[in-house]
Amino acid sequence: MSAESTLAPPKSSWIEVEGGVVRNQLLPGKRHHYAVIELPASFPAPLAGQFAMLGPSPSPSGLLLKRPMSVARAWREADHLYLGFLYTVVGSGTQALARARERWTVLGPLGRGFPLSQGPRILVAGGRGVAPLVLLAEECARRGEAVAFLNGARNAAELIAPEDLGAGAFAEGSVLLETTEDGSRGRQGRVLDALDDPRVRALFAKPGAMFYSCGPHGLLEAVGHAARERKASTSVALEAHMACGTGICRSCVIPRAPGAPVPAEASNTSFLLACLDGPCVPADTVDWKNAP
C-alpha cells in the first residue's frame, strides 16, 4: 500500500481567533486538564486527528510560542463552535494554559487528520494520546459505525475515558477495552495486550482493518508492528516540538522510514513534517529508531 492512500487530504484552512474559556480544570485523576473553548462559528470544523496551536491571551511576558494540542472534542451550539482539549501540564507552556481561565488564542485547525477507512477500526490510545481518538470515536458514533477502542494508561489516575470528556456513547457493536500497567483499572498490562481479546481478533478476519493510534512514539511503533502482522493499515498521530504548526518554521521533522515511498511533492525527502505531512501518518512511513 502506498503511503499516500491513507493520508487524509491536507486541510489548511486555518484561522486564528480568540476564544472564551468555558471550562479549564484538572480532571478527577488529577493528572490531566480538560479545557473547552468557545470560538466563533466561522472557525472551520476540525477533522479527528487535526490539532490547533494554543496560547493564553494575553500571553504572559516570558512565554513565546503557542503549544500544539489535538482536538479532543468539537461541537456546534447556538452560534459557536466549541473545542475540547485534553492536556497534561509538563512545562511552562502547558502551565500557562492551565492558569489562563479567561481567553485563549487558537490557531487552527491544522495538519492532516485520520483518514476514514471502510473496514474495521481499531483505536489505540496511550495515556493522554486518547485525545484525538475521542473525536474520532465520536465521529464514528455519529455515523453509527462501530469501533474497537483500546484505551491504555499507566494507572487509573492517568486513564481518561471518552465519557470523562462528556463524549457520547459508541455505536452498537463497539468494543471498549481498558488496560492499566498496574492493573488499577481494567485489565492489567499494556494497551496492545488487548489485541488478543476475541472480539478484537475477530475484526482482523474482515478486510480493510485499520489501526488509529496516538500516544508515546514507542506505542505508535508497536502499533505499526501489530498492524504489519495482521496485514492492517495504520494512521498514527505524531508529536514533535513545533514552533509554528503551519509549515513555515521547519522545526517539526520526524525522520522518514528508509525506503518508504516519498511523494513527488514532498518538500524534504529525509523528513516528514509533523504539522503538514502529519500529524496523522501511516506508521511504516516513520523511522522510529531515529524519531525523537
Binding site: 513565546l64 510560542l65 516540538h241 503551519t246 521547519r250 529525509s270
Partner: protein
C-alpha cells in the same frame, strides 16, 4: 503616558534602501516565513514591504535531526540546519510563485564558500521576480571554521565585491552577531559594495536536559531568537548604523509596533520580523498596518524622519 498625537495625517512609510524602495519598512525575515508564498492566498502580502526567502543553497539540504526548536525564557533556540529545497527546485518550483507576490522579494542565499555564493547569484540573475539578494553570512563552513568561517572582514569584503560585480540587483549582507566587532564586519561589507547590511541573525546558544544528560536540540547548539535578544540586537544596530553609510536592516525579537520603531530610532532603515511569525503568521502584516499611526502619534512625519533619530553622544557607542 502616551504623548498626544501631533498630527492626524498618516506618516509616509516609503522606505529607501539604497537602490531599492519598499512600500513600508516591514520585511519578513529569512527562515521564518517559509519561502514567502505559503500564505499568499490567506494574508494580504501587499501590506508588507517585502519578504526574504528561506536561505537557499546550491544543493538541497535535509537539515538537522530533531529536536529542532526549544523554547527558552522570552526566546527560542533553533537548529534547523539550513533545510531547503536547493537552487534547482527553488528556480522551478518557488520562483514562479514568488514572482507574483505583491511585495519585494529578496532571495536569501547561503554558501560554504564565496564560490558557492557566486554560482547562486549567477544562476538567479537569469531569473526574474527577485528584487535583491540577502547573503546569509552565518552559514557554517563545515571544513573551515564552522559558523565562524565568515567572521572575517577580508573574506566578507572580497565576497561582497565578487557578488556585486555579478548582479544589478540589491545586495544585502546579513551578518552574524556572534563577533567581537560587528561594525568591522559591516564596514567590510560596505567596502565590498553591499547595498545594505542586515542584522542580527541568531545568537549561538544551547539548552540541556538534566534527566537525559543531553542537549535539548538535535545538535549541541542552536541559534537564539525572539524578545530575549532584542536588547542585544538594538545595540548592534545602533553601533553598526553609526559605522557605515549604507542602510541597516534591523531585527531581533520584534513583536510589537513599538519594537519596530525602536529599531528605526537607533538607526535601522527597515526591519525584519522573524520569530513573531510563528506565533501568528500575520504578525508582519499586522505590524505594518500599525506603523503609520504610531509614527504620527510620536510626532514623526515619515519612516525616514525616525531613522537614527536617537541622540548619539560623543565617544564610542559601547560603554560597558
Amino acid at each position: 503616558m502616551s504623548p498626544t498625537p501631533t498630527q492626524t495625517a498618516s506618516a509616509d512609510l516609503t522606505t529607501r534602501l539604497g537602490p531599492l524602495t519598499l512600500a513600508n519598512p516591514i520585511v519578513a525575515a529569512s527562515g521564518t516565513f517559509g519561502y514567502g508564498d505559503e500564505f499568499a492566498d490567506r494574508i494580504d502580502l501587499s501590506h508588507l514591504g517585502g519578504v526574504v526567502t528561506k536561505t537557499v543553497t546550491l544543493l538541497p539540504r535535509a537539515g538537522n535531526p530533531p529536536h529542532r526548536i526549544v523554547e527558552t525564557p522570552a526566546g527560542m533556540l533553533n537548529s534547523i540546519g539550513l533545510e531547503n529545497v536547493g537552487l534547482a527546485a527553488f528556480r522551478t518550483k518557488k520562483l514562479p510563485r514568488l514572482a507574483q507576490l505583491p511585495c519585494a522579494v529578496i532571495a536569501s542565499l547561503g554558501g560554504e564558500t564565496p564560490e558557492e555564493l557566486t554560482r547562486l547569484v549567477e544562476a538567479l540573475e537569469e531569473e526574474s521576480g527577485l528584487q535583491g539578494y540577502e547573503i546569509n553570512f552565518s552559514c557554517p563552513n563545515v571544513k573551515a571554521g564552522g559558523a565562524r568561517y565568515w567572521a572575517n572582514a577580508k573574506l566578507l569584503e572580497s565576497t561582497c565585491a565578487s557578488l556585486k560585480s555579478r548582479t544589478r540587483r540589491s545586495l544585502w549582507a546579513k551578518l552574524s552577531p556572534n563577533v567581537t566587532d560587528p561594525a568591522e564586519m559591516a564596514r567590510a561589507a560596505e567596502a565590498g559594495g553591499a547595498d545594505a547590511v542586515t542584522l542580527v541573525n541568531t545568537f549561538v546558544g544551547t539548552a540541556v536536559d538534566l534527566a537525559t544528560r543531553s542537549f535539548k536540540l538535535g545538535r549541541p547548539t542552536g541559534g537564539l531568537s525572539g524578545p530575549a535578544i532584542k536588547p542585544l540586537a538594538l545595540a548592534q544596530v545602533y553601533e553598526v548604523s553609526g559605522a557605515v553609510q549604507i542602510p541597516v536592516v534591523g531585527m531581533g525579537g520584534i513583536a510589537s509596533v513599538d519594537d519596530v520603531l525602536e529599531f528605526l530610532l537607533v538607526g535601522a532603515s527597515a526591519v525584519q520580523v522573524g520569530t513573531a511569525h510563528f506565533l501568528t503568521p500575520s504578525a508582519g502584516v499586522r505590524l505594518a498596518e500599525r506603523v503609520a499611526q504610531r509614527l504620527s502619534e510620536l510626532g514623526f512625519a515619515s519612516v525616514h524622519a525616525m531613522v537614527g533619530a536617537i541622540g548619539r553622544p560623543a565617544g564610542g557607542p559601547i560603554a560597558e
